[in-house]
Amino acid sequence: MTTTSGPAGTTVLAPRPAQPPTSGQPAGRPDVMTRRLAKLGWLFSAPALVVIGIVTIFPIVFSVVMSFSDVQVSGNGFSLGKLTTANYSAVLQSGRWQHDLIFTVVYTAVTVVAELVLGTAIALVLERLGAARGWMMALLLIPWSMITVISAQLWRYIYDGTYGVADALLRPVLGFAPNFLGQPTLSVVSMMVADTWKTTPFVAIIVLAGLVMLPQEIYEAAEVDGAGGWATFWRITFPLLRPTLALAVLFRVLQAFGLFDLPFVLTSGGPGYATESLALLGYQVMFTNLDFGTGAAVATSTAALVLVGCMVFLKVFRAQVAEDRG
């Protein structure tokens, strides 16, 4: 069930060169035909591109403008006011933003690394599993498809100080009951555990699909050469799996950096600001303080950081792949 049947297996990161639409068009007038088809193509794409443009590109530009404006919101509308960099200086100088930035970066790094290691380990185990693999895949898909808010409520109940099951299970072992969501450092760890539970399956499924596609002959050769399991993994599996892992990392980093649903329900960003992410801060500034200019500055800087991070990652990754090949 892990084989990618058919053309969905084409890569997203490196698009195939476009194919000619019809191979056997009449020899005499390819230009007219091509031009007609091109026109038709744009006509077909127009509705989707217009909707995407209106709802994503326009607001992104608008958000940048707002972040540089003295936005005033009143009962019946809003005005942008004069151009200013006050929003950004307010954001950059605030200790809360600096804390949230560090928290979001650390949280992203730790959860992504943990999920990658665990997910790869799970995939390696499941690859060796026989008939039960289909069932395991099905089980793994459930946390992935779950509303994050629901898993947050569930973990809040598990971590509860009086009737939580984590308390009841750990108290006899440790001799005391950890204050899972009340103590700053521990609340961050607790949230990471909840996140890992929900998202590791996603990584495991991607890695497993990548594993299944690897050529078997190489492994047979390695066996003949007498390579052990550990050496085989680091010398063969890991390098071959690198594109798959890179994609999983990219997806997860983007998702983790926009962290919002989980702290919104599980901790409300607390205790204090211990688990407040940049997205949660942006939301609070906008909808609790009703300060849309500053909120836009938080949101825009977050988005900019994500984009820069992705570009650096892709550049490093490409360079590495080129190095491996050349």
Partner: protein, 283 residues
């Protein structure tokens, strides 16, 4: 496939590292799920019991009655269904047209368009919340179905277009010849000849879009926080107060929200896996 895996004999066929590790994974994944379902079936008193009870005794449906008869979680579910279905239909309609064109037609400058779509699909939603909120407030769209349907459509289109385009590329070009020789219009050819071939891709795009809409929270809580228009995610997140969290009701509603999507994902699990790996595996 198991050429490099040593054959195991006797009791080692059952008790071995792989099976034990798999069992551990299964327990790690399913224990919280069990706790969710079990809590939803406990009485309100039993939910708050210390130490917690291992299984509901007696099993009761009080929480489900509370959630759906007393607190309008049925309405929240309905809102989620309306918004997710409408968005999925729109994404498919627009995404099929665009994916087909971008996959098959000799359009100049389609590579920048495709790259742009990829960039947009990774853009954090928080960046567009404030302008969208202010615009929707201006035109009176806050707390309405379209306040979510339009953004959900736009944000899920890029991924759907990519998935569908990959499927369309894989269909042999001769198929279009057939349509053209019959004198069918391009739209007609797409509908009756190409679409049936691309069915797996359409399933994948549909399941992903629906799941994404069903689970979305940030936009839903920002634009539709009024009681009548809350989606199930918002309803579950905002239920209760800072001091009282009625977990029984919350978990009953949660089970009702998890079940349909879990069934959908399990039924279409081939599509889901192929979608998850669409970018990961080289063709």
């Amino acid at each position: 496939m198991s050429g490099r895996l040593a054959k195991r004999r006797g009791w080692r066929r059952v008790v071995n590292g792989v099976n034990l590790a798999s069992l551990l994974v299964a327990v790690f994944v399913s224990a919280p799920l069990y706790w969710l379902v079990s809590a939803s079936l406990k009485s309100p008193v039993e939910i708050g019991a210390t130490p917690p009870t291992a299984y509901p005794h007696p099993v009761t449906l009080t929480n489900f009655r509370q959630a759906f008869l007393h607190y309008g979680f049925g309405r929240y579910l309905l809102n989620s269904v309306v918004v997710s279905l409408a968005s999925t239909v729109l994404v498919l309609a627009l995404g099929i047209l665009a994916g087909y064109a971008l996959g098959r037609f000799p359009m100049r400058g389609k590579l920048p368009v495709l790259m742009g779509l990829l960039m947009i699909s990774v853009f954090p939603a928080i960046a567009v919340i404030s302008p969208l909120y202010l615009i929707m407030r201006e035109i009176g769209w806050l707390n309405s179905y379209q306040a979510l349907i339009l953004p959900y459509t736009a944000f899920n289109l890029p991924f759907a277009i990519w998935i569908l385009r990959n499927y369309f590329i894989g269909i042999p070009p001769e198929m279009e010849e057939v349509g053209r020789l019959d004198g069918a219009s391009p739209l007609r050819t797409l509908w009756s000849i190409i679409l049936p071939q691309a069915r797996p891709g359409i399933f994948t795009a549909a399941v992903f879009t629906f799941t994404a809409c069903w689970t979305e929270f940030l936009m839903a809580v920002s634009f539709n926080s009024a009681n009548g228009y809350r989606t199930i995610a918002v309803g579950i997140a905002l239920f209760g107060s800072a001091f009282v969290v009625p977990y029984g009701t919350i978990f009953a509603a949660s089970v009702a929200a998890v079940l349909p999507i879990a069934i959908l994902v399990l039924v279409f699990r081939r599509s889901v896996v192929s979608g998850l790996t669409a970018g990961a595996v080289k063709g």
